[in-house]
Assembly symmetry: C2
Homo-oligomer: 308 residues x 2
């Protein structure tokens, strides 16, 4: 297979928010011949069609022709629901998976052809990987997670270079579908991402610290500062602005992530609360503060290695 041959020919993207929309735009740039079918609410579909990001708008995954890849790009809980619908629909070919729930098959959709790959882009992986494993249909699923995102969500902020230089983690099963994984890695490399592989549990534990905890900390900080010193916001410097950038993230996405990774996030939050409590006890003395600051400075230098 030449490296310029597209890894897939018809891709369904269910959920055209920031991530799903950016995948569509990135594919457009890299492989214009890939046919892209978008599934979302009518207003979002109109926007995506209007900007040329997708070739066809569908209200349900069942109505998408013969895709060889389905990308689930809705919030985590909805992806799991869509996965179940997709599997059920493939099995009985009578129930159409939609973005708003299953509906009866008055007009029967065409049977989806067998060699389909399904992936997702959710921020937690154990739940959906377990859900995929328990499906009766044996739908070939590989969990995925592009790291990054941006300040604001929604198709309006999607851009083709969103994934450039960023990790895109896949969490294949031990007994996973190696050719499917390789095609997915080729796809995301084409979007500029750096594919990586992790066990779903390891992914969720690490993300609890490097992604979910910063999000919760930023939102809690902005909530506390606004509630405690609203009249000081006009005097705030770049420090508060950077530290709370994540605080504009949508609750809808994070409610699902928090619920599906609550054990690891709970552990990480406990450690953060313990560190803050120690700092609080030490305010007047400074020795503990010095130790925490110095160690934080070293971790920060480590984090920035190879970045910027």
């Amino acid at each position: 297979m030449s490296s310029d041959e597209p890894p897939f020919h018809t891709i369904v993207i269910a959920g055209l928010g920031l991530i799903g929309g950016s995948i569509a735009l990135g594919i457009r740039e890299r492989w214009p011949s890939i046919r892209i079918v978008g599934v979302d609410q009518p207003s979002v579909l109109a926007h995506a069609m209007g900007s040329g990001a997708i070739d066809r708008a569908a209200n349900s995954v069942a109505d998408t022709g013969t895709p060889d890849l389905v990308v689930l790009a809705a919030p985590v809980a909805q992806n799991i629901e869509l996965l179940g619908q997709l599997s059920e629909w493939q099995r009985v070919a009578g129930v159409a998976p939609t973005m708003s729930g299953p509906r009866g098959g008055a007009d029967k959709p065409p049977l989806m052809p067998a060699p389909i790959v399904v992936t997702d882009v959710g921020g937690t992986k154990r739940d959906i990987v377990a859900a995929a494993r328990s499906l009766p249909s044996g739908l070939p699923f590989v969990g995925g997670h592009p790291i990054g995102g941006a300040e604001r969500g929604g198709f309006g902020f999607a851009r083709p270079d969103l994934f450039a230089g960023r990790p895109w983690i896949f969490t294949p099963d031990e007994k996973g579908d190696a050719p499917a994984l390789e095609r997915l890695e080729r796809l995301v490399s084409g979007l500029g991402a750096r594919p990586a592989r992790l066990d779903a549990g390891d992914h969720d534990r690490l993300m609890a610290y490097v992604s979910h905890l910063p999000q919760l900390a930023a939102s809690a900080l902005m909530y506390t500062v606004g509630g405690g010193a609203a009249e000081g916001l006009r005097l705030a410097g770049r420090g508060l602005v950077d530290t709370t950038r994540l605080a504009s993230s949508p609750a809808s996405v994070w409610r699902d992530i928090a619920a599906s990774n609550h054990d690891f996030i709970g552990e990480a939050l406990d450690r953060l609360i313990a560190t803050l409590t120690e700092l609080r006890r030490d305010l007047g003395h400074g020795q503990g503060l010095e130790k925490t600051f110095n160690e934080a400075g070293r971790w920060r230098a480590e984090l920035m290695k190879g970045k910027e």
Copy 2:
């Protein structure tokens, strides 16, 4: 007085770190005729002289000729010490204030002429304002605080535009020296800053929230993430990078700030810890999380009004 006449003629800057160094460089650009005398460790003075930021290097404030402004730009506790030394020296003209402590006056310095203004740039204001008020010499002191700073401290990162567009808060006494305050405001406006006035106690309370709390949160977060998931740092996205930018701040500066504002910072930390504890309890359910995220998003929008 024409608006281009410099507000001061000879300025002593005690402490040529990021802030003191940037003040020197900014004055150089705006009013080249102002004579600048720097006071710091020999190696820093050599750097500042070599780059043309100062006209003269002095080891002690007593050895600085006849300044009409002294800017205390060392960490908070040292500024208070320098203020006491300056006052004592002015009173008895036999003890030279130095960056490392008072020393005996073997060679007596010339008496500093009377109409001198003293200000500082420390991150907390109640302590130094109270110290100035209790000085026997009645040295005319106006507390100051330029908001902002940068990722890294030290003269090497100083730049003339550090204060451009940023607030510079003064905390004058009720019975304060109005002409001195006006000259200071004209000076910092010349550096591009937006002068503002606040009561010292109000300043410290607001800064506990909009400046000190974000710093402690960023350091605690980086400390927790590094300690809990070092192997995940390479997978971290822009979220962690932004949220922990402040974590490279030097402990030396923040130990003093924490100690001199421990009551208000303690209150702010307690509120942050309470918010995080609530989020932790709510991880599996999501209703509290949704409320916190939504309110945080509104405060974030408020914070960004008029910025960028």
